[in-house]
Amino acid sequence: MDQNNSLPPYAQGLASPQGAMTPGIPIFSPMMPYGTGLTPQPIQNTSSLSILEEQQRQQQQQQQQQQQQQQQQQQQQQQAAQQSTSQQAAQVASGQAPQIFHSQTLTTAPLPGTTPLYPSPVTPMTPITPATPASESSGIVPQLQNIVSTVNLGCKLDLKTIALRARNAEYNPKRFAAVIMRIREPRTTALIFSSGKMVCTGAKSEEQSRLAARKYARVVQKLGFPAKFLDFKIQNMVGSCDVKFPIRLEGLVLTHQQFSSYEPELFPGLIYRMIKPRIVLLIFVSGKVVLTGAKVRAEIYEAFENIYPILKGFRKTT
């Protein structure tokens, strides 16, 4: 009994499993499970629910900090021709931007149902894979205005016959070597060449472009040509949107001069050539933005999400 009192308080419960067999020697075997209190830990509330809550709160706070760091990183990154692998390294050891480093304890979530008496040892802040910052999304979706696509009808065409018999067709071989045909639904224009290749422009969505191209192919088919529908491909998509605030174009061209070109005497808009994704944006003082050069819709959306924080930084305040 006396020897039990001499033990440190955390070992008292462990030292004497059965009173009758107590040899008086404290049982400190190397088989003790790790993390049962041998290392000194800050005293925390040991009820399982609150531990879970605290760990979740810590993780949320850390994610928010990482989002803030990410936003600052993004501005620097776009100046330095984005490198995603260095992002994690930059988070841990960057001295450029003023960042608040909270040295919070990062604890892994315990298994459900278990109650860890003492939390696991403090680990250094491990870089979490950056999540898309939901708080920074612009809430503006660019609208598609024009889609250009091509398709191969797979047979040689007699353009004179098509122009003579088809409705809404023009053919002026002295001016241009293709039949220009238009349909009302979807409102599109097609250039049909004698090789059998066709360009379809003016549709507002990918599905409409495909549907219109099929309608043109059907018209050609009804005129007696063995038209097929080979290699339909969308070549270009144009979108536009409005950020709803005026923009300082001169500032933007100063800081992003590797990407932008702005000649107000030539054209009133700034031409921003984004590298990734490869999209060209026309940015105007009014806040209207035109995005072009995309092969898929996601590139337009991604380009706009990339440019929006930059434009916010050059908002005109007068």
Binding site: K160, A163, L164, A166, R167, N168, A169, E170, Y171, N172
Partner: protein, 94 residues
């Protein structure tokens, strides 16, 4: 109708004279339209169909209003066939 009938009898005395008269008719109508017609008519309608092979325009318009300084005429359907000429004239048929 004229395409199904036999054109064999055009090469007769009567037929030849009539063909000469047709040529005279062409010349007369062209000069009359060029010289004697001076008024200007505007017309406006919704375009139903257009066509342009061999430099000949064909339009089909609906709900057309023919507007002259003096009067106004409304028509349901107008088919216009037009081609280039020296004085950019046009021929209109109903």
């Amino acid at each position: 109708m004229s395409s199904t009938a036999c054109r064999l009898y055009r090469n007769t005395t009567l037929g030849n004279r009539l063909q000469e008269i047709l040529l005279q008719f062409d010349k007369a109508i062209n000069s009359a339209l060029a010289q004697r017609v001076r008024n200007r008519v505007n017309f406006r309608g919704s375009l139903n169909m257009y066509r342009f092979p061999d430099n000949v325009w064909t339009f089909v318009l609906n709900n057309v209003e023919f507007r002259e300084v003096t009067e106004l005429t409304k028509v349901d359907k107008v088919k216009t066939v037009a081609c280039n000429s020296k004085n950019t004239g046009s021929i209109t048929t109903e």
